[in-house]
Structures are given as structure tokens and as C-alpha cells.
């Protein structure tokens, strides 16, 4: 059964140096607060997994937490590039970043395989693209009935997956609605999981389109209001589109990024105590 913990405790207990860590949330419900807590706790050598490494991973990469990124689309959506990501890939700053690159369909299916306890997934994908030349986790497989050639990708089974959700009850059952992305699969694929939520409530009123992760499928739940900002939590707050634009000016230069890191991440540690 999921334990209800503070964010600091959840990250402290579940995320270790060298872990394979997935933070998921497809535009909606991106676990930004948890990402910054990982920075604050100075985790290193992480293999970060995420379909869309947007601002949340630009921050982790810029802070030097990651040695590898497994992903399918790395950009600041609607704005442009992730400058910290580019700086790590192109210049190895602050540390070199190895990349393993897939398509969305491939990544989604890798999580599905992981959640399903299968070693691989099959899809119609990658054929004719240059991705298989550079990504050795894309292979071919033959249908045993038709002889057709399809793509195979290995399961993703992160050491820990972290997602943000609207709410949980006191038993640790987690409720999500709106765009649900690949979060259920990410949690079910992982060995351990942390779910940050907008609020912990007595009872989860049913909501149309909800997904429920039962308490026993989650390791820890932490109440973190506004934990998705600048992403959004449907029913709680809107996406802060201006912040995405603003991030471009922070992330563009190393020094402006380091100023932000000091002011908005590490100094927050002191405040919290």
C-alpha cells in the first residue's frame, strides 16, 4: 500500500544515484516540483526517461543530474529549443549526456511492455527512418503467422517512476483525469513509484474520464500543491504559457541558468527547513 510522505522524503527514499528514473506527464501534470527536489538532493548519474523531455528535464540536465536520456521529443513546446539539453549533447556541459532516441509510438509501447511484464513490444514503426542506425534498442521481428516484418522495442522498467496527479485519498489511491498520457503505464512499469498530488482528500469523488491507480500499485504519495507548475492540473490551475516563454531566457545561457538554480532550487531548500 502506498505510504503518504513529504516530497523530500519520497525523493530521498525512492531516487538513488545511478537510477533509471522516469518523470511522466504529457504536457498535462508534469511533475516539476519532484524534478526540482531531485536537483535539490543532488542526485547524480541518473538515466532519465521521458517521452517529452521539456523544461523539467532541461532543469535536471542543466543541473548535472543525468548521464543518459531516453526520449522521443526534446523541446520547449510551442517555444523552441531546450538550451541546457543542447548544451549537454553538443558540448558536454555540465556533464556529457548520452542519448537513446525513439519515436513516441516506440516509447509508449516500451512503457506498455514494461507495465505488462513483457520483455518487448511490437509495433509498426521506424521503418525507413535513420533512428535504428543510432538506437540499438530498435530491432526487427517476424510475425510467426504472416511472416511480416515489424519493429520490436525492449520494455522500459524504470527503477522509479514519478508522476503528478490531481488527488489521492488517505489510503493512497490516486486519481487522475483530463489528459492521462502514459502515466499509468510509467508507474506500473517501474519497480518503485512516487506520485505527487495537488491534494490528499478523504474520498475520491468519481470524475468522468478518471484513471485510478490503486494504493497497492504505488509506493509513495506526496501532497505537493502546484506541483506541476508551469504545466497544469486540470480542475486546479491552467498552464502557465508565459513561463514556458520565460524559460527560454533562463535556459539559454549557463549563467542565467545557474542563477535560477541557486535562487529557485537550492535556496528553496533553506526556506523549507
Amino acid at each position: 500500500m502506498a505510504e503518504i510522505v513529504s516530497l523530500a522524503e519520497g525523493v530521498g527514499r525512492l531516487v538513488h544515484d545511478g537510477d533509471v528514473v522516469a518523470l511522466e506527464g504529457f504536457t498535462h501534470l508534469i511533475p516539476h516540483a519532484a524534478g526540482q527536489e531531485i536537483i535539490r538532493q543532488r542526485r547524480r548519474d541518473l538515466t532519465l526517461v521521458r517521452m517529452t523531455p521539456d523544461i523539467v528535464y532541461d532543469q535536471l540536465i542543466g543541473a548535472g543530474c543525468a548521464r543518459k536520456l531516453i526520449f522521443s521529443w526534446g523541446g520547449n513546446p510551442g517555444v523552441g529549443s531546450l538550451h541546457r539539453f543542447r548544451d549537454a549533447v553538443q558540448n558536454g556541459w555540465p556533464v556529457p549526456l548520452e542519448i537513446e532516441e525513439h519515436s513516441h509510438a516506440g516509447m509508449a509501447n516500451r512503457y506498455v511492455a514494461g507495465a505488462s511484464g513483457l520483455p518487448f513490444a511490437v509495433l509498426r514503426g521506424y521503418s525507413g527512418t535513420d533512428l535504428p542506425k543510432h538506437t540499438d534498442t530498435i530491432k526487427q521481428i517476424t510475425c510467426p503467422f504472416t511472416g511480416e516484418q515489424l519493429a520490436a522495442v525492449p520494455a522500459l522498467n524504470p527503477d522509479v517512476s514519478i508522476i503528478h496527479a490531481q488527488r489521492a485519498d488517505r489510503a493512497g489511491n490516486v486519481q487522475i483525469w483530463g489528459l492521462v498520457g502514459v502515466q499509468k503505464e510509467a508507474v506500473l512499469a517501474a519497480k518503485r513509484s512516487l506520485v505527487t498530488v495537488e491534494e490528499v482528500v478523504d474520498e475520491l469523488e468519481p470524475v468522468a474520464g478518471q484513471t485510478i491507480l490503486p494504493s497497492w500499485a504505488v509506493t509513495c504519495v506526496a501532497e505537493v500543491p502546484h506541483g506541476a507548475h508551469p504545466s497544469y492540473a486540470q480542475g486546479y490551475y491552467d498552464r502557465d504559457n508565459a513561463y514556458y516563454e520565460h524559460w527560454d531566457s533562463i535556459g539559454r545561457k549557463r549563467d542565467s541558468f545557474e542563477d535560477w538554480l541557486r535562487a529557485k532550487v537550492f535556496d528553496m531548500e533553506v526556506t523549507e527547513k
Binding site: 504529457f26 523541446g75 519515436s103 506498455v112 509498426r124 533512428l131 502514459v182
Partner: protein, 258 residues
């Protein structure tokens, strides 16, 4: 970037591109929409001649009916106005992969003469690229599985190249018959809509040729903005200038999206 015609028109070439892209979408079609230019065009189409256009976003929405331009592919308004909200694996596995989508509407950072798209790296060396782009996203499988693909992209010598540095999404490969050989079931890019005109694959070779010029644009201008020796269709036609209604709707959409 105002298009210059004899009488200076009151619209930009970007507006012309969005309007030309909107016009090619048929009412009732199911359209897989990328963010940016494709989303602008698809939403414009739904607000003008194609009210029953079904918008599908890879964030997991089927039949979104936003009343403003979504700021991102996962804008809350897409979920709130959708017929159904589904998971991301389901989008790709149950809806895109089996060929249920009529039109995949994509952008491109770099495009070559066979309509292959690069959104991964600029430069020859993947490990040490000149420019690292965002990567594939949903595009490879959109390009593979939709019945046809429309690309909307601003035209320049830098972006329209003889051969893309990296094939992120397959257009017509290295020419006619390649899609079949690769087992790709959709028709691939049948239209490339730019700020200058519209390119279509030659039925014999699958090479993109100029088939339509926007108002006020000349062939030579398009050839200068193309990195290969662009051929011109014998049936070269002219795009009609935007109507007032189209322009007003486009501008209102963009204004509301701010």
C-alpha cells in the same frame, strides 16, 4: 514578410500558407494534427469550410473542438472539448497504427525532394550535430500510417534540401515504390504547403514538384528558396488570395489563442 503583389495585399505570406493549408482539408476527414502551423491550419479549416473535421492530437484527444488555438499539443482545451480522451499508448496503437486517420498534418525542420522529413539533427554527424533538433515525437508513425500526409513548412534553401541529414519521418524514401518496399501503408506526403506555393509528388518519380503558386509569388522566387533543382508541374496553378472571411477567422483564432 508581407506578400507583394501589384496592389499590396493586406495579408502576410504566413497567413497565406495557413489559409492554403486549411483549404486542402476536407470536411469530415480525420486529421492527426501536429502543433504549430498544422494546428493553426486545421483549426482554421474547422472554423471555415470543414466544421466536421475531426481533430486528433497525440496527447490523447479524439475530436477536439477548441474555440481558440491551443498553446500546446496538450492544452487543456483539447481535452475539455474532445469527444473522447484516451491514453497516449492508445492514440498510437488503436487509432494511428491501424490506418484510421485520413490526414497526418506535419511540420518539418528540413525536407528533401522526396518529402522525407528531418526533425532530429542538422549536420552529418549524429553524435556531434551542428544543431540538435527536438527529435521524432509522433512524426515517424504519423508519416507511415496516415492515409496521406500534408506537410506545412516555410520554404527556404536551408530547409528544402536535396537530401535530409537525417530521415526522421519517411516521405517517399529515395523515390517511387520505396514506401511499398518499406511496408509503409499510407500514401505518404501528397501535398507540401509552403509560404510560397504548394508542391506535389510527381506521379512517375515521387519527386516533389511545384504545382501551385500563391498570389504574387513567381516561379523563380520558389526555385531560389529550394535546395534542389525544383521542377515545375505543367499544370501549374495559382492559389486564390485569402478571402476576407478566411483572414478574419484566422486572425480571431490567433488573437484568442494569445
Amino acid at each position: 514578410m508581407t506578400a507583394t503583389t501589384e496592389a499590396q495585399q493586406a495579408y502576410t505570406s504566413d497567413e497565406m500558407m495557413s489559409i492554403a493549408a486549411a483549404r486542402v482539408l476536407g470536411n469530415g476527414q480525420r486529421c492527426f494534427v501536429g502543433i504549430g502551423l498544422p494546428s493553426t491550419a486545421a483549426n482554421l479549416a474547422r472554423r471555415t469550410h470543414a466544421p466536421d473535421l475531426v481533430l486528433i492530437y497525440e496527447s490523447g484527444t479524439l475530436g477536439s473542438k477548441p474555440d481558440r488555438l491551443p498553446a500546446s499539443i496538450g492544452d487543456g482545451i483539447l481535452a475539455e472539448t474532445a469527444d473522447a480522451v484516451i491514453s497516449v499508448p492508445e492514440v498510437f496503437n488503436y487509432w494511428l497504427q491501424p490506418g484510421r486517420i485520413d490526414v497526418g498534418f506535419l511540420g518539418a525542420a528540413q525536407l528533401d525532394k522526396f518529402g522525407n522529413i528531418n526533425t532530429t539533427v542538422i549536420g552529418d554527424d549524429y553524435a556531434n550535430p551542428k544543431v540538435r533538433l527536438p527529435g521524432a515525437g509522433g512524426a515517424p508513425e504519423i508519416a507511415a500510417s496516415c492515409r496521406e500526409v500534408f506537410v506545412v513548412v516555410r520554404q527556404s534553401k536551408r530547409s528544402f534540401v536535396d537530401k535530409v541529414d537525417f530521415v526522421t519521418s519517411v516521405g517517399h524514401g529515395s523515390g517511387k515504390g520505396d514506401r511499398e518496399r518499406l511496408g509503409l501503408r499510407g500514401a505518404g506526403p501528397t501535398l507540401v504547403i509552403t509560404d510560397l506555393g504548394i508542391l506535389r509528388p510527381d506521379p512517375e518519380t515521387s519527386e516533389l514538384v511545384l504545382s501551385q503558386l500563391h498570389e504574387g509569388v513567381e516561379v523563380e522566387q520558389v526555385r531560389e528558396a529550394t535546395g534542389w533543382d525544383l521542377k515545375v508541374s505543367p499544370q501549374l496553378s495559382r492559389t486564390e488570395a485569402p478571402t476576407e472571411a478566411e483572414l478574419a477567422t484566422l486572425r480571431a483564432l490567433k488573437e484568442a489563442g494569445k
